[in-house]
């Protein structure tokens, strides 16, 4: 029995949250949907941990869904790249759900909570499905599962602007996914297969056709919309800002990262770096957009008055760093990009969790609400400062580690590298500006009279926040785990051309 389960780990990775979603919906007893979701997320995390260990030495785990052998059936394929991403996503899922119980109770009315948790589980299943699948069409299906459920999650926001933000996200997200669908159609037209590994062997024969070039363009643009790469980022700030706190935590730390994985997987594994960067000018485009993303994202963050907006724009800038790493086109650069995915997920989760605590007590997250919060909510604010230092890239936090590797990767590049390093520096200085603005208000302003009585956030919210804050420091000091995993993932990707 146990062996049977162990053989089916790749299927369980997606099936557990997928099956739990209707359970959450059916068992509408108070508190039960949360418990089901939380237990499932822990099991999912355990599964991804086991998968991560199984492929840690470079094996590739191939699982034929329903016993239909690839390339005909749908293949689940686990390697060092996606197992690392799955570990991250399911880990964030656990922390977000730990935070969810109290936070959701205060933000969403009781009768809708079961729907909320089932949408949350569907979103988790969709994101993990995108990561694990080795079938290109399956990517589209899971992309839509995760997207549709995240539209539902965002629309739970209390502000009415959550609705318009969701609508905008729905339009842009659907266009992005449909563009990926068009690209897949063109590839199927030329090769007759949808299995990624099979595509990679068959594409070189037909590489020199306009159909494949068009397919490539559609897939890159589609993935960039989902990734919120500048200038396709307009859906992101409002969607993050008006969503319920816990949704912001989860989506900010996962959804754009998974989109980056889709981009990496198609560009490096399916099309191959030679085609993508040799024949198509992807390197210049990505580098240019990433640099603009860092500059505009960070600059916009400085001028926002809603703290959630500040962090959302900062996310756009941070996505820029990840793409810079990818566009450097070396194993070191790629490893730095993947490392930043991991590190940014941790510190952004920490920051948005802290904001969630503030929101729980104040009911909003405008900069005025932060006046004197360093005195009234010292623990929350301390976690926020740790996350903020991470964004700036201070030593002893995760942000420093990924920027350090990014700079090392850039130094190997000569002239482009010098420009990249200066962009990273400017971005970090802007980060100092937007983080300091909040810290200043929090510690050096007196709280207004009616806000002076506000107490520290409850322990149920502080614990997940501090887990992420400590992770920000832990992975900033003890870097072997994340650096080795990211480097392995990058070598897997570069070796797969």
């Amino acid at each position: 029995m146990m062996n049977l389960l162990l053989d089916d780990l790749p299927a369980l990775q997606v099936m557990l949250p997928l099956l739990c979603a209707p359970l959450c919906f059916i068992l509408r007893i108070k508190g039960l949907p949360w418990l089901i979701a939380f237990v499932t997320s822990i099991l999912t995390f355990a599964v991804s941990f086991m998968l991560f260990n199984q492929v840690a030495d470079g094996d590739i785990l191939s699982y034929a869904m329903g016993g239909w052998a690839p390339p005909w059936g749908i293949e689940y394929r686990v390697d060092r790249l996606n197992s690392f991403f799955m570990l991250l996503i399911s880990g964030i899922g656990v922390v977000a759900l730990l935070f969810a119980r109290k936070s959701v109770d205060s933000e969403i009315i009781a009768c809708k909570q079961s729907i909320f948790y089932s949408a949350f589980m569907l979103c988790l299943a969709g994101l993990l499905g995108i990561l694990i699948t080795g079938d290109a069409f399956n990517v589209f299906v899971f992309l839509e599962i995760s997207a549709l459920s995240s539209y539902v999650l965002i629309s739970f926001g209390q502000d009415r602007r959550a609705l318009t933000a969701t609508f905008q996200y729905l339009i842009m997200g659907t266009i992005g996914a449909t563009m990926i669908l068009i690209g897949l159609g063109f590839m199927y037209m030329m090769t007759g297969t949808l299995n990624m590994a099979d595509l990679a062997t068959r594409l070189p024969e037909v590489m020199n056709t306009n159909t494949i070039r068009t397919a490539f363009a559609f897939i890159v643009i589609g993935a960039s919309i989902k990734l919120a790469l500048f200038p396709l980022h307009i859906w992101l700030p409002n969607a993050y800002s008006y969503a319920p706190s816990v949704v912001t935590v989860f989506l900010a730390a996962t959804s754009t990262k998974v989109a980056l994985y889709v981009l990496l997987r198609f560009v490096f594994t399916v099309f191959g770096a030679e085609f993508a960067f040799g024949e198509m000018p992807l390197q210049h485009i990505l580098m240019f957009m990433a640099v603009l993303a860092v500059l505009t994202g960070s600059l916009c963050a400085v001028f926002q008055t809603n703290i959630k907006h500040v962090l959302a724009y900062s996310s756009i800038g941070q996505i820029g760093y990840m793409v810079i790493g990818v566009a450097l086109l070396t194993t070191t650069g790629l490893a730095a990009g993947i490392l930043h995915v991991f590190n940014h997920a941790i510190m952004k989760a920490c920051l948005f969790l802290a904001i969630g605590c503030v929101y729980y007590r104040h009911g909003s997250a405008r900069i005025e609400d932060f006046k004197g919060i360093g005195k009234t909510m010292p623990w929350t604010m301390a976690a926020f400062v740790i996350g903020g230092l991470g964004l700036i890239g201070m030593p002893l936090t995760v942000g420093f580690i990924s920027k350090w590797y990014l700079v090392i990767a850039a130094m190997e590049q000569g002239a482009i590298g010098a420009i990249t390093i200066s962009i990273i520096l400017i971005g970090s200085l802007l980060a100092v500006a937007y983080v300091w603005r909040i810290v200043e208000v929090a510690y050096f302003n007196e709280p207004t009279k009616e806000k002076a009585q506000i107490k520290e956030a409850p322990l149920a919210l502080l614990i997940p926040t501090w887990i992420m804050a400590l992770a920000t420091i832990y992975f900033g000091i003890k870097t072997d785990f994340s650096v080795i995993a990211a480097t392995n993932a990058a070598t897997t990707l570069m070796g797969a051309k």
């Binding site: 069409f137 589209f140 299906v141 839509e144 549709l148 539209y151 539902v152 629309s155 009415r160 602007r161 609705l163 318009t164 969701t166 609508f167 729905l170 339009i171 659907t174 266009i175 996914a177 449909t178 669908l181 068009i182 159609g185 199927y188 037209m189 949808l194």
Partner: protein
């Protein structure tokens, strides 16, 4: 001749796609945006179905004498995509109902006016 009549389906796909895309971008009415999105998606469905067609191909049924048949896989794929499209439309329309309740309008420019954005 071959490029116009022979690729008729693909021309239709391009025309429909651009009509849909234009409506999504240019129209400020939210329901019309959803309709535009639908047209955009439908054009992709036609693209897939056209790819499957083989000249003189029979229906893909296992039977003696049939050697040349139409590829059934794209139809199945598009069945999935149609379901996704319906779910998106339903969710979009449900959102519009709630937007109408919250703002009392479904025109994008009036919504921005009420929120004081743009």
């Amino acid at each position: 001749m071959d490029t116009i009549a022979g690729l008729f389906n693909y021309w239709i796909v391009i025309v429909l796609m651009m009509i849909g895309f234009y409506v999504v971008i240019a129209d400020s009415n939210l329901i019309k945006k959803i309709i535009g999105l639908n047209i955009f998606q439908t054009s992709v469905f036609i693209l897939y179905i056209s790819v499957a067609k083989i000249d003189g191909g029979a229906a893909p049924i296992l039977e003696d004498g049939i050697t040349n048949y139409v590829n059934p896989l794209p139809h199945v794929l598009i069945l999935t995509a149609i379901v996704v499209g319906i779910a998106t439309t339903a969710l979009g329309l449900a959102l519009i109902v709630r937007i109408k309740e919250a703002y009392n309008t479904i025109e994008e420019d009036e919504i921005h006016e009420k929120d004081g954005t743009l």
